[in-house]
């Protein structure tokens, strides 16, 4: 039965594995990394991420290569992308945490229990979206049957309640995740630092510098050349060039 379900799932999503990285290619890129050819390995990892945007390990490997190339900004950007795709993976968590600490930031906010942080990020953003969709369909299906089959109402009542609660729970979880530092955020990828301007243009005063690898919240991205960003910890906001920061 389990096999049938899995088969059905694969039949439903025939393209799921189509873009998966070729195992031999990956082994080749990992060999390059092992031998210290980080730039060459990085090119390979980037090729995988372009083909397989849902592959957290490709982003993780790219982050490692960037880290070895002493580029903390792009490294943290890749780790963040990997973390958003698979927040339960211990390697991804460890390297993101390590890289953030190296740049004076933390994965688990100060004062927040680690267990709560783990639960908060137990599901990825995509998994949360999928769960909401799934519970929505399930709830609607059950409600339809409940409405039409009066004789089954007794049996369906619990399932309907459970599915409704799950839907509401995942929806609230998803809403709560909108305040995550990785949601609607960007990483400063400019080498060294980026200037925080008081307006979207070079004519405005630069009143702060943002160090490379700093996580910032994007408040507005409608300007062609500048992001309006907020730095919650310092309580300041301003504009940075779009070439100096990259969205997670």
């Amino acid at each position: 039965m389990k096999k049938k379900i899995l088969f059905a799932l694969f039949a439903l999503f025939p393209v799921s594995g189509a873009g998966a990285a070729d195992r031999n290619s990956l082994a080749g890129y990992n060999d390059l990394y092992k031998n210290g050819s980080y730039q060459a390995a990085l090119e390979g990892y980037k090729e995988i991420t372009s083909k397989e945007p849902y592959d957290p390990y490709a982003f993780y490997n790219a982050g490692n290569a960037y880290f070895r190339l002493n580029k903390p900004g792009p490294a943290i950007l890749c780790y963040c992308k990997a973390f958003r795709l698979d927040p339960r993976d211990p390697d991804i968590r460890a390297n993101l945490d390590f890289a953030l600490k190296r740049t004076g930031q933390t994965l688990v906010p100060e004062g927040m229990p680690r267990a709560l942080h783990y639960v908060y990020y137990f599901l990825s953003d995509l998994e949360l979206k999928a769960a909401i969709t799934l519970f929505w369909w399930l709830g609607c299906l059950l409600l339809s049957v409940y409405a039409l089959k009066t004789d089954l109402r007794g049996k369906l009542k619990r399932a309907l309640t459970a599915s409704g609660l799950l839907f509401a729970g995942t929806l609230l979880w998803f809403i709560a995740r909108s305040s995550s530092p990785f949601n609607g955020a960007a990483v400063i990828t400019a080498e060294g630092s980026a200037r925080l301007l008081s307006g979207p243009g070079e004519s405005f005063k630069a009143y702060a510098t943002l160090p490379e690898a700093r996580l910032v919240k994007i408040l507005d991205d409608t300007d062609d050349n500048y992001y309006e960003v907020g730095i919650p910890r310092e309580g300041i906001k301003g504009w940075v060039q779009k070439t100096a920061a990259e969205k997670i």
Binding site: V15, A21, D55, Y60, L126, K129, L134, T150
Partner: protein, 625 residues
Amino acid sequence: MATNLSSIRPIRPAYALLALLFLAAGTASAALSISAETDKKSVEINDSLYLTVTVLGDSASVPEPELPRMDNFNVYSSGRSQNISIVNGRINTSVAFTYILSPRFLGKQKIPSIPVFNGKEKYATQEIEIEVVKSAAQASRQQGAPGRRAAGRTRAADGGPAAMRPEDALYLTAETDKKTAYPNEQVNLTIRFYTAVPLTSNPQYLPPQFKNLLAEDLPPVRNGETVIKGARYAYSEIKTALFGLEEGPAAVGPASVIAQVHAESEMDPFDPGFFQKFFSGAGQGETRQVKSNSAALKILPLPEGAPASFRGAVGNFTLSAGLSPREAKTGEALNLSVTVTGTGNLKTLTAPKPPEMPDFKVYDTMSSLDISKKNDIIGGKKVFTTILIPRTEGRRTIPQIKFSFFDPQAGAYRELTAGPFEITVKKGDAEGKTFSFAHGSQAEGITPLSSDIRYVSDRARPPLAGRLAGEVSALPLWLNFFPAAAVLLSLWLARLKDFRLKNPLLFRFRRARGKARAELAAAGGELKNGRPGEAASILYDSLLSYLSDKSGCRVGGLTIKRALSLFREKFPDIGEHSLDEIRDLWEKLEGLHFSPAAATPETARDLMEKYEALLDLLEKDLKER
């Protein structure tokens, strides 16, 4: 200055682990300081002094100082010694670079500021002033011992430098003590500058270029006298240790000396300090440059049969190792020190391969190096320190450490071993404990989780859950309106069903015409198949059913009279014509129903048309109550 790692104070293991966090940072951002000192402030012109440049840093390795050009001294590297200490979580590295300086001019001479660059900032020493004085022998001779000078002149006259060809009076030779060597085997190069004439200026030594060779100075400069072909020469000798890099030809290019020669000899070349003397004398002379011969070497391939632990070491070494402490808790750091002592190129010596230790987490290896050049042989000591963290508790063994080298004297490989080491590991505190670790000038609390990033992943496919989630999330949003529409439809159907259950007569009334039409079609089918009797029978049943649905009376209890009565009662506006039509059709159909043999296709067709017309008529007359 020279110390070794075994002299390091016992360290708190957790600090050692933390210290490793910063090893990868290298020297690029490490804090540095540099200082320089000499062993004397005053030196005779024919003597030399030691300059020690000490670089201190807070990382495992520090950069070498960049010695500036010093025209007033001849400079030779004498060695280095390194000391690493990890105390209270702070790494401190101290490397002392020693140089021998031979003065070239009399008077106050300055050793310029010596810089060191850590990749971002430059640090420099203070200038050092050195007083260069005449040699004691030289001074006494000037005060009243002209005989020596006279003797010198006599020797020169006897030896006949005046009769010598100019190229024979001043020349330079270069020779190696071996013509073949193995990679990393020491070969000594001796360069000798001979002169049979007095010099009036400083001979400037320009070292040779090397191909496929690494060079290491072997100071100090030796001076002496010799007789060659009946002529007496003073010579100055510079030695250099060479190490072949790889199998194949190697070469030593020509060395040069630039010297100024008096037209008339006023200085005694046989004076032990004659090389420095030209600085004390006045007057200009002829500048002459002499070059040495080139020398070729052949670097031989290492013989086959190297042990598995061989990593390129050539020379003669001893091995020792130590582990401290011998009792630890899981998660705490242990210090495994492996010391290689002996003669050979220690600079290029790589750490012995650590054995497999699945019970331990093995961190990067730090090395410290002390080089000595005693008796013109490069040697010393290199200490490799590895931090180990026990993973599991119990009695654990660190396997034997193997180190092998090729002994060029014996022409054979030798393998040395140290260990194994037994250690008792107790259960430690939970991981992730917060330690206070001071790094450089900024002290701040950090929470260590690992010393480095974790290794790359070899998983070629994203997790199934992630893939499915990605695909589901990629579905268009409008698809989610379908379940909502289905719910609305279901609710409407449920309400309809409920309404029907509550109002059955009304539903019969509304459905009567549709039902009758369907039965008319069925009767038409029977007629088409040549069964008019059956067609008439269907029409009869249909009429009764229709009248029953419209009147709300059960079919079983319905007669023509009752039906008409009910119609008049429920539908007062019904016309008499309609009632007559009902009666007429009922009677005709009833007749055929009970005598189907009398039914002909024509009569059946007539009745069908009549029934259809009646339905239209009644639908107009019978309005919903």
